[in-house]
């Protein structure tokens, strides 16, 4: 295994400081990252969280219900987690969180003047199956304003946190929706190098769409390197 193939590819990822996204200027490290010696590189890593994921965790349309169904457009989001050789990564923990259909997060700090939905919590998780596939049911998140610049709005997005085979493959990202006009104005999305931006946009999928129930969006996630997920107890 050529370890350089397992590195973070900075031509795919956004830089640590991207002036259009203002808080990166005072929160991104200003010094270059230090290449660690071979000996210090992490070994194989975890299957984590599998036992803790409960059956409703992947269904955000149900896991926050108090007295009725959540409002908004029901969607199915599914995809595969792959390594860069295209091999599926099974038993990988995925955590998601998002705003509700009105563009409001449950988080206490979100003060956007849009209604909370008593029946929508907005967080979930699941573990990929033997083919590396994950699937969530949720409500399409709304856009919401933020303070980065005048009239700034975040495009519709779902936050993803993914583990993969080791600490190096750890990824936190955001999934966007096709055709969103706000993408062209969003400095967080635009901080990603142009050639890799499209990897963050899900595709509408009629085969995934459940008739009479929910629209389907496909979102594959490629984690760095050519590692495979360790077997349980390995």
């Amino acid at each position: 295994m050529n370890s350089s193939e397992n590195k973070r590819d900075w031509e795919s990822h956004p830089p640590l400081i991207a002036p259009g996204y203002k808080s990166t200027i005072y929160r991104g490290p200003s010094q270059p990252l230090i290449e660690v010696p071979e000996l210090m590189k992490p070994g194989t890593g975890p299957i984590f969280g599998m036992e803790s994921v409960s059956p409703l965790d992947h269904d955000l349309t149900k896991n926050g219900i108090k007295n009725g169904e959540p409002l908004g457009e029901r969607i199915v989001v599914s995809g595969r987690v792959l390594n860069q050789n295209g091999q599926p990564l099974k038993n990988t923990l995925i955590e998601v969180w998002q705003a509700n259909a009105a563009g409001r997060y449950v988080h206490k700090r979100d003060q956007h003047h849009a209604p909370l939905d008593p029946n929508f919590f907005g967080a979930g998780r699941c573990v990929t199956n033997d083919k590396g596939v994950f699937k969530f049911y949720t409500i399409k998140p709304g856009a919401y304003p933020w303070g980065n610049h005048p009239n700034a709005w975040r495009p519709n997005h779902i936050h993803f946190s993914v583990f993969g085979p080791n600490i190096g493959t750890r990824l936190v990202t955001q999934m966007y929706f096709p055709g969103d006009p706000l993408l062209d104005h969003d400095p967080i999305y635009l901080a990603v190098p142009e050639k890799s931006r499209e990897r963050l946009i899900s595709t509408f999928d009629l085969d995934l769409t459940e008739e009479g129930f929910a629209l389907g969006y496909q979102f594959d996630i490629v984690l760095r390197g050519n590692h495979s997920t360790p077997f349980e107890n390995e």
Partner: protein, 155 residues
């Protein structure tokens, strides 16, 4: 040659807490990773508290960072399921403890490989950080605080 391009990172944003650290922030949702790697009821003699803060360029403590620590146990084994009161991954946000501290209960790990000093791997995620950064916590004179800012790694 790798065939597929890596999915780009995006910031964790300010609102991760109810999804990733819900119990700490008092949301009614189970946390998969917590600040408690070592269960003190099981083992208190090896307990250490690992505390710290994240500062921005202006020296202001960051109140919405999420810290993950990954470490082996005292036998040098990575524990993804609790083993003798220890689990290898911890997670905490900096928004609930006065002073914006993160605060882990854990133990000093064995060296991960022969020839290495014992160390805890740390990942920092926060609003304003488009890609997470890695650093290491050492327990002796070896340390990774640079003169101006923490040293972060690439590998």
């Amino acid at each position: 040659m790798n065939k597929l391009g890596q999915t780009p990172s995006q910031t964790i944003g300010p609102y991760f807490a109810y999804g990733l650290t819900p119990e700490q922030y008092k949301f009614d949702h189970k946390s998969l990773a917590t600040p408690f790697l070592l269960d003190v009821k099981h083992n208190s003699k090896d307990l250490i508290l690992l505390k710290g803060r994240v500062f921005d360029l202006h020296g202001a403590p960051v109140d919405d960072a999420m810290i993950e620590i990954w470490q082996v146990d005292q036998e040098g084994v990575f524990r993804t399921e609790p083993h003798e009161g220890f689990i290898s991954i911890g997670r905490m946000g900096t928004g609930t403890v006065e002073g914006n501290l993160y605060e882990f209960t854990t133990c000093i790990p064995a060296p991960e490989k022969p020839g290495l000093a014992p160390a805890i791997n740390m990942i920092v995620f926060m609003r304003g950080l488009l890609s997470h950064v890695y650093t290491r916590v050492y327990f002796d004179n070896l340390h990774m605080q640079g003169a101006q800012e923490t040293v972060f790694f690439d590998f």
